[in-house]
């Protein structure tokens, strides 16, 4: 069965280096899965395209049809590639707002590859002090390698002592591909009216 991976990219400019990183991650993950003989398709969502809809959802409490389609694509995927620019020490406001309008239970056990871009390599730890805890809170299954790309990484790389961007992309892609290969999330049937275990319409203790 074909696996489905959702990609969210929160870059704001056109063209965006965040989208560029997302595309590189997609290509690497695809290669790994094809090697394993796994069919995969990607659904890429530029959050900029739903920025107004996300704000309206925050204000009204419901997603319009356009945003709902994106949320469904993300929450029912076998894996997620999430890439954001780092603004003022953390993920962008648009990225966080999008996460905020998703049901907090909906990303449980989702294989996630986190990526971020920034002007300086000094912000690379934002992946591990902001992005990673966010997905941990959501009970997602985030792969150990996060991929940060500073402006300098698109050239030779700033620091000869660390691994290059292509190497980091390959390592992270291998980790995500391994989890997606066994993920059955996209074939699960979700019952929106599932009652909590043990629920009784007359209550429990003493209410009979």
């Amino acid at each position: 069965m074909t696996k489905r991976i959702a990609v969210i990219t929160a870059g704001l400019s056109q063209p965006s280096s965040t989208r560029l990183l997302a595309d590189r991650l997609v290509a690497a993950v695809q290669r790994r899965l094809v090697e394993k003989g796994v069919d995969v398709e990607f659904e890429v969502h530029e959050l900029r395209d739903t920025a107004q809809d996300v704000t309206n959802n925050l204000l009204t409490g419901f997603a319009n049809a356009k945003l709902d389609a994106v949320i469904q694509s993300v929450t029912t995927a076998d894996g997620l590639i999430a890439v954001t620019p780092i603004f003022t020490t953390s993920y962008s406001g648009l990225f966080k707002s999008f996460i905020d309008v998703i049901d907090p239970q909906a990303l449980a056990d989702m294989p996630v590859l986190i990526g971020a871009t920034g002007g300086s390599e000094r912000h690379s730890l934002a992946l591990d002090y902001a992005m990673r805890p966010l997905f941990t809170y959501l009970h997602a299954n985030t792969v150990p390698t996060g991929v940060y790309a500073a402006s300098s990484d698109w050239g030779n790389g700033a620091d000869a002592a660390t691994s290059s961007l292509p190497e980091r992309i390959e390592r992270a892609a291998g980790e995500l591909a391994a989890l997606v290969e066994t993920s059955d999330r996209s074939s699960r049937i979700i019952d929106p009216f599932a009652l909590p275990a043990g629920f009784s319409p007359v209550g429990g203790f003493g209410a009979q």
Binding site: N56, F62, L195, V202, F205
Partner: protein, 364 residues
């Protein structure tokens, strides 16, 4: 089919002129609105319950009792009564008293309340919301049906041999609706008891409520109260009208744009497309609401929100004239067309008394 209005009792500044009614003015306006509802031939006036500004309706039975004394036919209801933070014993007493004073023109809609701080103000925790709604209603249900109640639960002090007074009028408790926006537990509860289920329906797309009501209908049948089509369903709605539809849009837009719930968000055009809010000519409102039964099945009660977001009393009363004189009479006819004979009418005290007598007859 019953038609009426429901209000949240907000005190909101009129964005077109910056004036804000006093609490006293708003309270008196609510009474005028209720009386107008009866005058223009509506069936139901439902009042919210809140314990925080900008809302004034903290004491619904006081106000509904006052309105009962000045009306003849209007059914007085709530939207909603807080089954979580109120003592179910006090609800049993207050609404039974109101039921007597109003000669049966009373029903109640249970709701949980979504304002976090209100719970601790009444010694409760919002995280227990569902559990409180389930347990408190289980007690209330017994208090209205059993003369002496022994009871022990998790949230309230135990009762031994307690009798709630006055006993319900003619031995028939007020009809109960359960209101919920998204919780299947509450739809399940309404279905279990064979009570009504009310979907607020005004802030979100109808598809969401269609699924929830579909679930309630299915469970109503499962619990043996009748077929799914016979379940008792109420819907909220929202409209603003003028003879010429562009005038309605122009008049309502400033209120929409500043409205506490959806202001500064989607455009009026997007919101009217996505939700049941209808701003336009009376005919547009008729068309929109006549189509509701196609989505939700034949139902029993349609309530409109007409008096929020700082709309002045004069405007609200004019809107009620249009609603009562031009819209509802047509909707009554539309809803009657091809309505199956076995689908119940909206609940009334007289019908409940008759049903109770029939039950006794069968069991003899």
């Amino acid at each position: 089919m019953q038609f009426g209005i429901f209000t949240v009792s907000d005190v909101t500044t009129d964005p077109t002129n910056g004036t804000t009614p006093t609490e006293h003015e708003r309270i008196k306006a609510l009474v005028a609105i209720a009386k107008k509802a009866e005058e223009v031939g509506l069936d139901v006036f439902a009042l919210g319950e809140h314990h925080n500004p900008p809302f004034v309706s903290s004491s619904p039975t006081t106000m509904l009792g006052y309105i009962a004394a000045q009306t003849e036919k209007l059914i007085l209801s709530t939207s909603t009564t807080l089954i979580t933070t109120n003592d179910p014993v006090k609800i049993a007493e207050d609404y039974a008293m109101l039921q007597h004073l109003a000669d049966g023109r009373v029903d109640v809609m249970m709701g949980r309340g979504n304002t976090g701080p209100v719970y601790p103000w009444f010694g409760k925790d919002i995280r227990d919301g569902i559990e409180l709604a389930i347990e408190n209603y289980a007690l209330l249900h017994r208090l209205w049906r059993e003369d002496f109640v022994d009871w022990q639960g998790k949230f309230r002090t135990p009762l031994q041999g307690f009798q709630s007074t006055p006993r319900p009028l003619d031995g028939v408790p007020p009809f109960v609706w359960h209101g919920s926006i998204r919780s299947p537990e509450i739809a399940e509860q309404a279905a279990y008891y064979g009570d009504g289920f009310f979907a607020n329906n005004i802030f979100w797309p109808k598809e969401h409520y269609m699924r929830l009501i579909g679930y309630y209908r299915q469970r109503f049948e499962h619990y043996g109260h009748g077929t799914a089509a016979q379940a008792i369903v109420g819907l909220g709605g929202q409209a603003f009208m003028a003879k010429n539809s562009q005038d309605a849009v122009d008049q309502f837009r400033p209120y929409f744009n500043e409205a506490p719930v959806y202001g500064h968000g989607p455009s009026l055009e997007d919101f009217t497309e996505q939700t049941p809010l209808t701003v336009g000519s009376p005919q547009q409102v008729i068309d929109k609401y006549a189509s509701m039964r196609e989505y939700f099945g034949d139902y029993q009660r349609q309530l409109f929100l007409m008096d929020h977001a700082g709309l002045p009393l004069k405007t609200v009363l004019e809107q009620l004239d249009i609603l009562g004189e031009e819209v509802v009479p047509v909707l009554r006819k539309e809803f009657a067309v091809n309505r199956p004979a076995d689908v119940p009418e909206g609940p009334t005290h007289a019908a409940l008394v008759e049903a109770a007598a029939a039950k006794v007859e069968v069991s003899k």
